[in-house]
Amino acid sequence: MMIKYPDVFFSVLARPVIFVLIALGLHLLLRGAKAPGGGFIAGLVVAAAALLSRMAMDRPLLSFNTRLLIPWGLLLAAATGIAPMLLGLPFLKSAFGYQTWPFIGKFPWETALLFDMGVFLVVVGITVTIIDLLAQEAEYELVVMEVESGQEH
């Protein structure tokens, strides 16, 4: 007996939650050096958003092929490692400082943030890919069930 109920409430109310989750994820990523946050946590928050979007609206969070995020993340992390070497500094030497721009005012920048973004991309790449695959698998089960139930009648 296959029960199929459209969770109207859930899918409607999930949109704002997903929006906040993604905003929170990026916020955590960008303030990594100053306050609790960082690539791993931000990546997992975005993964939670992907889970929610899959569950509530049955729609992938990111439309592109998230598998490519993994090598790009690694490349970014490696680049921040190798770039200082080209300037004669040892591997993974990081630099930091403060910038003041007209509208934004004084804000700190650090190259470690780029490395953190690399970590973020890898974590997001892996979790979202797995979630999408599991969802496809579930969707696929349904197709199989329908075909089998179709054959019964």
Partner: protein, 130 residues
Amino acid sequence: AEDVAVIRANWLTDLLMLIGSFFILAAGIGVLRFPDFYTRLHASTKLVTLGGLGIFIAAAVAFIPNAATERLLLIAAFFFLTGPLSGYMIARSGYLRGLPLYKEEGSADEWEAQGEGLEQFEKDNASSDD
């Protein structure tokens, strides 16, 4: 360096905090003492949301000096949004999966009473493919 906030222990924070903790206490007792699943569900979702709001607003007032109030209001908003929704989801799956209702003599299951019942709902749903 933790943000040291000077909390003016004003009366508003204390009052709201008291109200909030009263509701949470009520929720605790409700979850402990209520006879069946559905009634306990009321306590665990509705009451705690109310209690939580009380405490959040108290905290919002308390954190005015170090500009954390808007974050707290965001949390309160989400608290208000997710609390009842999770209650609704649990209740639905509980009922549709046939958890027994607590039957006192006077009470009746409106859904059952209207003759709708689970099977009937099945039929309309099975035919329509969403």
